[in-house]
Subunit: 118 residues, 2 copies
DNA sequence: TGCTATAGTATACAAAAAGATACTATTGGA
DNA sequence: TCCAATAGTATCTTTTTGTATACTATAGCA
């Protein structure tokens, strides 16, 4: 990594991944393939419709996911990863792995604090 | 990636990396090693002292960077990556690479839009 | 006729992140 | 005696994110 901060493109990836629900949406779609709006919602207890819609729209605007509307009533809308979106997988995977190590790390830290305070 | 969203640890990494200046700070320290507060500030035009201090404290609390105070006047405080912090490098690297591809991708998209609107 | 299901909007509000600006302590040197 | 340098705090304001809640359209069905 020999580059200047001014050509740092880390922010681009970060901008796409950031948002309380985006990583969860992306991992879900990566694992499960195509999903309807209602299935996404069911899978994310606590999310509001507005939030889910917003996150999906943002991901769609970045060409990370695809939105397909079926002209039916009641409506049916399906979401899936684009090929381009799938290219985020290594990042998500790296983050997930790091996150698991981090959990251990925090556990150890707490252990140390207990020792030193007793 | 065959896991349930409820054991998704992506958020942990995200929580550490998110912040307008954190990736820049981390890449800088990874590349340049130990740096003083004033050097960090000089390297990030636009950041306020308050912001820099806050981001550094948060990274320190997570054991990602180390803060060493020299009892001098005027004060001297040095920051550097911890070993643990260096374990974030693959993620930052993956993000950087993706970001570069993203820049091309966006350029192509704009080309296509120009074509289709002419 | 009125209810259900689905995928949303619209509006108001609360909380978190970021920015602007002013202030502090201390010592060596002019 | 007063100024410069360094690494901060303390407040206040603005912007961005996220939450809560209510509302909409429409085909099919009882």
């Amino acid at each position: 990594m020999e580059r200047k901060p001014d050509n740092c493109r880390v922010e681009d990836a970060l901008g796409i991944l950031v948002g309380k629900w985006k990583p969860i949406i992306l991992l879900y779609l990566l694992q499960e393939g195509t999903k309807r709006f209602s299935e996404l919602k069911r899978n994310m207890p606590g999310i509001t419709q507005k939030m889910l819609t917003k996150q999906l729209r943002e991901l769609e605007d970045e060409d990370i996911i695809r939105r397909v509307v079926y002209p039916q009533v009641p409506p049916k809308v399906e979401y899936s990863m684009t090929d381009y979106g799938r290219s985020l997988e290594p990042i998500l995977e790296a983050m997930h792995e790091w996150g698991e190590k981090h959990t251990e790390h925090k556990a150890k830290e707490e252990q140390n604090q207990l020792k030193s305070s007793s």
